[in-house]
Subunit: 465 residues, 2 copies
């Protein structure tokens, strides 16, 4: 938790931006896994965490703009809770830590909402992704469950996004810490993975590394010899000599800040010539992104720059043919990189994705529907203080290659004979976390092994232990 | 997944038990952590897993008893899903593996439900714990969200519970496997924990041990030097010389079967005399449970037997005074063990707790409201094939002791002067998983270190590495 003034200042700016009505910020409740009392690890809503810093289930913040009052509502603890959960602080004490004096029960909240509604005052809330809160708002605001997310406040959403998009120095320090724990997770895997191991044995080392720092995972760890499958959650394969292992994972600190990094390592310790050749193209793509990163450029331009590097490399290698600009305009290169170059990062790994990419990633503009570009989560102009990932990848996805060949998709730019020599290649990606500074940019965290020689050097430890 | 006939036979028995109408079995969907696309690890509903064995999100099983038809409904995959999630089997193929020929989209399901409703036929479903399914059923059956769990089918619930309560040999083999992975989690901690470590460093080893076997956690790991807090989820303390470390954790295999064990270990490697004395009473309690376990006895009797052992031990040590039977009738002993002796275990760690303890643990009878007994989840008569935990504990909870002393609760049986000599003692528990057999009972899994000398022997490894 930051100091009290931080939260008070954030809420002051929010009040100023929204103006009038009543702001309702819904915290998360516990999320049942297989029955009501067996829950997933509690994850607080990041907007609630941003404005109040309280990591506790079932709370709701209200800012009454018209009467200049602030409240936190929730259920308080009893002696029974102490027996099961240990000494607990009362809601009133927690609220004081973020500068809120008024607390109440959920019945007080519903009474306040009813009164505001009867006075015809606007109740501002943002898009809800937890079904319990959809049910709650449906009851409290007398809306159908499908109407809850149709009546969100755009003013409030933009106000929150504009505040959270720009990371302060104290936030950047926490992102840096999250990135460094994430780095430890990657190094643990690099120093451990060997042919013959199951993917889940490596994932176990990664889990241990996070937990050692009392961190959880900012998303489900991808740890796979089939990197060509972009969101591969399977961990059951055995690593083979000659495989590439793709690891995409991130730490989430107990204060919510997230890391998100990807590395690709040769299971045998050294890249083959063919792997090294494609990996060096991946590094060209990566470096071409860094070369243009700065405030004022749109992230879509950065993405397209990387796509041109990819297309040029594929033309050089005979896998594509034609003019680079025409290739990138057609989207043919997306056969090899169907995803976007990156996304905002903060207290969510895709920061504020719950508000929708259009507002967060595109500042209200429409996103392209072209294959590849439609998966670019961030397209807007970068500003000082924006934090985001850079994560180019190169994949050979047999099912997609077969489909495009059959359908003749972008056939004029693709040399399928050459491409099919890579059908068993798999996929690779490298990802780092960035902040836009006055001077340009900074990659967060200590240096990660990135180039071939750096990765092979760390990998040696797996074989000498 | 078991073989096809297993699922077909389970559903045949279910059809026979319920008779007429239409049975709707809701699978789980993904559960959003911080936005719709960032989900907790998927956990399938265990009843869906029991009857269909398909570990995939967003599915619904229907058994039309009146027309003798069976279906599975859900959304099928597209080529886009292949890019992101890899080669996937179609729902039709998955359904065939459990003997279902008819599959359809969600729109087919809602049409079927509407038709059945308009014909005045009974739609049987059980209690829902996932809020998305509450919303789904509310829409599909035209009920208010609060009405969904008021209209459950008791016939279906009892039919499912009566089937799932009795574990078959193939299920017992899986429970045994889950128990053995759980045992590895405990041994990993015992061989690792040392003074000066953080609790989360030990929890990290436990997480690694589970993941090594491609298992997840059947519930949030308790790993604490404050064992007197029963559901302590804090992992941030540093282990001190002289502490007891209480570890309560379990593996969940990828087919759903769960383990659940607790051990208590001295952080310094050896129990102090005072710790050893109370631990030996804990073992007396444990062994007194085993002495009476068999088909035909109610688990409430076993619990009360253990409570008498506890009370007698506390009288011997001068912490309690009076007649053992009177003490146990009053509930005074529950100051030292406020929880129940155990619970059913299976594909949920508290098996089928989503149906309510009254049906699962008490076969429809009312549960006691006395402090201590009110937390006994299982009270009914044991039958051959029942799987459950045995988990006596002894705790000194400062807040509870202070409250009882102040309020004079059960004062005639309690020697607070002696009790207060244990205010910094903490808590201890030992837990194993059991099955009722024709001959009596069997503790599942390989031998766990349990007695003082066994635990201290394993602990030596932590100090020799």
């Amino acid at each position: 938790m930051f100091k009290r003034d931080t939260y008070m200042e954030r809420r002051r700016k929010l009040r100023e931006a929204v103006g009038e009505g009543l702001i309702l910020i819904c915290g998360n409740d516990e999320s049942p896994m297989s029955y009501a009392d067996n829950c997933y690890p509690f994850t607080q809503d990041s907007t609630f965490l941003y404005f109040y810093g309280i990591d506790r289930a079932g709370l709701f913040g209200v800012i009454d703009l018209d009467n200049n009052k602030e409240y936190i509502f929730g259920t308080d603890f009893t002696i029974d809770d102490t027996v099961w959960m240990g000494p607990l602080s009362f809601l009133r004490e927690e609220a004081k830590k973020c500068g809120i004096e008024e607390t109440g029960e959920i019945s007080d909240l519903t009474a306040l909402l009813s009164e505001a509604k009867s006075q015809g005052r606007r109740i501002h809330y943002t898009s809800q992704y937890r079904h319990l809160n959809i049910i709650n708002l449906s009851k409290w605001l007398n809306l159908g469950v499908d109407e809850v997310n149709e009546n969100i406040s755009e003013e409030l959403t933009y106000a929150v996004v504009n505040l959270r998009n720009v990371k302060t120095q104290e936030e950047i320090a926490e992102l840096e810490r999250a990135t460094n724990v994430t780095r430890e997770m990657h190094l643990a895997a690099m120093k451990y993975a060997k042919p013959g191991m199951k993917e889940h044995e490596v994932a176990a080392k990664v889990a241990e590394a996070a937990k050692k720092f009392n961190a959880t995972h900012s998303f489900f760890t991808i740890c796979t010899r089939n990197g060509q499958t972009l969101h591969n959650h399977n961990h059951s394969n055995t690593l083979q000599e000659g495989d590439l292992l793709l690891l995409d994972c991130g730490a989430r600190l107990d204060n919510g800040y997230c890391g998100d990094m990807t590395s690709t390592m040769p299971v045998s310790g050294k890249f083959t010539e063919k792997q090294g050749d494609i990996y060096s193209l991946l590094m060209e793509m990566y470096d071409s992104a860094e070369a243009v990163l700065k405030a004022g450029i749109t992230f879509k331009e950065v993405h397209l720059k990387v796509c041109r590097t990819l297309a040029a490399g594929m033309v050089d290698r005979g896998l594509m043919v034609g003019d680079i600009d025409e290739i990138v305009a057609s989207g043919a290169h997306a056969l090899f990189m169907p995803h976007g170059l990156g996304h905002m990062i903060g207290m969510d790994v895709h920061d504020m994705e719950n508000f929708g990419e259009k507002i967060v990633g595109y500042n209200g503009e429409e996103k392209s529907t072209q294959f590849g570009l439609k998966s670019l989560r961030l397209g807007r102009e970068l500003e000082v203080g924006f934090a985001f990932t850079v994560e180019p990848g190169i994949y050979f996805i047999p099912e997609l290659i077969a489909k495009w060949k059959k359908d003749g998709t972008n056939a004029e730019f693709l040399n399928f004979d050459r491409i099919e020599e890579y059908l068993d290649f798999g996929g690779m990606r490298h990802e780092g976390d960035y902040i836009i500074t006055e001077d340009g940019y900074r990659r967060l965290g200590d240096r990660m092994p990135k180039y071939i020689d750096e990765i092979e050097e760390v990998r040696r430890e797996a074989f000498t232990n």
